[in-house]
Subunit: 104 residues, 2 copies
Amino acid sequence: MQEAAKIFRALADPTRREILRILKPGALAAGEIAAQFEMSAPSISRHLAILSGAGLVAAERDGNRLLYSLESQPLAETLGDFLSAVCPTQRRRRRSSTKKGKSR
Amino acid sequence: MQEAAKIFRALADPTRREILRILKPGALAAGEIAAQFEMSAPSISRHLAILSGAGLVAAERDGNRLLYSLESQPLAETLGDFLSAVCPTQRRRRRSSTKKGKSR
DNA sequence: TAGCTATTTAGCTAATGTGCTAATCATGCA
DNA sequence: TGCATGATTAGCACATTAGCTAAATAGCTA
C-alpha cells in the first residue's frame, strides 16, 4: 500500500485523528494516551500501531514505557500534495475566525 | 456524523480520491467518470454518492446526464483546519520539485 | 528469579465497506 | 406511448475494521 494511501486510511478514524491532536504538544506514553479515551488500552494500542505504520507517529522506549510522538512532516506533505492535486490554486484565507462562521 | 468525519471517511478510498482529482479541471457526467475506471458504473455511482454526502462534489442534471463537479472549498477547509490542529506552525516549502524527490 | 507495571498480540464478534449483477428510475425523442 | 440512454437503487457476497477480553512480552527492581 502506498504511503499516502496508508495515511488517508489512518486518518479515516476519529480516534486516530484525536490521538494526533493530543500528541501535538509533545510525546506521551501509550498509557497516557489511552487514559484520555473511554476505550481499552489494547484498542488504543492498535490505533497507535496503525498510525505508526502510516509513519504518522514514532515510538521510543523509555524504560518501562513507550513514548509516542507526532511525525507531522509526512502528514503535512501528503495532505498538502493532495490539496495541490485537487483544489484550484487559490489565495489562503487571511484569517479563519471561529466566531462568525461564514454560514456554510 | 460530523462533516469533517464524513470528509475524512470519503477520502479513505483511493477510487474516491482519484475521482476528485479527475474532477479538478471541470465537471463530468457520471458515465464519463466511470469510463476512467475499471469498475462497474454502479460502483462508481456509489462512490459519487459518498463524495456527495460529504459535500465534496455537487451534482447537476444536464438533460439525460448528471454532471458532477468538485466542491473544493470544504475539502480545503477541513484539511487545512486539521493540519492547523495537528502540525506545528511552519513556513511553507518554497517549491515542491517533482524531479528530485528529497529521498524520504 | 519473582513480581510488578506497561504495552502489545491473539482470537473472537459485530458492524461497515466495497464490489458485482439485476432491477428500477429519469430523461429525451420518434 | 414506446424505446433507448444514463444513472441510481436493491440485494447479495466477501473483505476489512474496530471493539472487547485474555494471554503474552518487555523492562524494572527487590
